[in-house]
Symmetry: C2
Subunit: 243 residues, 2 copies
Amino acid sequence: MFQSIASYGFKLPLYERVRLQIQERLSKHVWDINQPIPSESELSEEYGVSVGTVRKAIERLVEDNLLVKIQGKGTFVKQPNFSASLMKFFRYRNTQGELIEPIGVLKKVEKISAIPAINGILKLAPTDSLIYLERVRLIDGAIMLSEKIWLPYDLFNSLLDISLQDFGNLLYPFYYDRCNQLIASANEKLTFVKGYRDMYLDNPADETLLKICRIANNLEHIPVEYRESFGCTTNFHYEVNIV
Amino acid sequence: MFQSIASYGFKLPLYERVRLQIQERLSKHVWDINQPIPSESELSEEYGVSVGTVRKAIERLVEDNLLVKIQGKGTFVKQPNFSASLMKFFRYRNTQGELIEPIGVLKKVEKISAIPAINGILKLAPTDSLIYLERVRLIDGAIMLSEKIWLPYDLFNSLLDISLQDFGNLLYPFYYDRCNQLIASANEKLTFVKGYRDMYLDNPADETLLKICRIANNLEHIPVEYRESFGCTTNFHYEVNIV
DNA sequence: AAGTGGTCTAGACCACTCT
DNA sequence: GAGTGGTCTAGACCACTTG
């Protein structure tokens, strides 16, 4: 009964193959978000494996934040909460010291040809095309952050069909809904640059700017977004949990 | 045979009680660091539980980075590698762009009485005493970072017996060796301050300084260190993995 | 009472490392 | 070949939620 997953390779342990099966059904949104997915015994019967094997598969998916188990009720699809996870690391404070969620406004979406450095970061073939975004983030109408974003064309070309004003405040939910790419982890580097003039920030040339380079990965740990953000240090607030 | 761990409370699952038993032996350094710990079947016999239960207990300890399993060889005590984990997040670069490990020099160690704000952060009783450290970090002999560190007196009083020059480059290995406190996670907040003059940095009053506030937790997720670091933005480089 | 996930057991066989 | 951890199974009982 596992011929269908032969393509995954038979060297994978059974519970990993079951995990991939379930994960595939998850990304196809087969199950209603408010209903429990089939029970462990149902799945074990369906896949013809023991309950313990299904449990182990589901355990991994829970670790990956794709499922949530609730004792007595069942196992549920977890919809990623972006504003509570990734975006919380990146904050500005107002003069009263309260946290602010900057408003994201997209300025440009276009297809561009390969850029060796970026293609290298995104682990693409040297000639693969890219999607290029420009975006600013506003606080009280003032531009605090200017972002340049590069994405693999093959995965994100559907973004070209969306008009600028239809992009929401957060990009990652868009990636998820439109391109089926769930951003699951990221690496960020913070540095400071002097003498860089940004077209949107319109900053004095001698001002020290914050520069954040982010490589964001999907669930399969494949880098799918490279982003460079430039910002003013005023009221900037960065928070991170190291585990 | 589990009377000895009655103090942990009998509501804990068996594998959790076994985990705590093993963890206790780990923190007492019962096992040689270069030898495998007793095998799963040996431990299951010793504790009078099934192999599966021991496996689950060890699984958790591996997740916590306390043990490492190597198939065919055994399970080994993992000594925490601080320079490769926590400290990698915090870097300066030289003019060639290469990463530099700043040298840490301790300037002050003393017992102080309670500070309401700090005691609150460290979740101590309002009158509990503290250990206070001052420390600078140097690159090419120049002070790049000035750190103020507060620790619970009860856990860290043995630091008072160590002379300043005997503190090594990294503090966390010291916490581990001398006070049995393994720093396992941390929360850091980066902000910028202007108008703060630091005694060690000896900075101009109008320079914008980086300020990093860190709350570091031990394995039991109890906060055991609060640290405020002030630094120059020049050549500063901060890297973090978000998962 | 029925169904869910949570815990625990016992035992089989496999893959790997060492001697 | 002996010993280790890795995978997989089958089944018992418990804790929790819902009708």
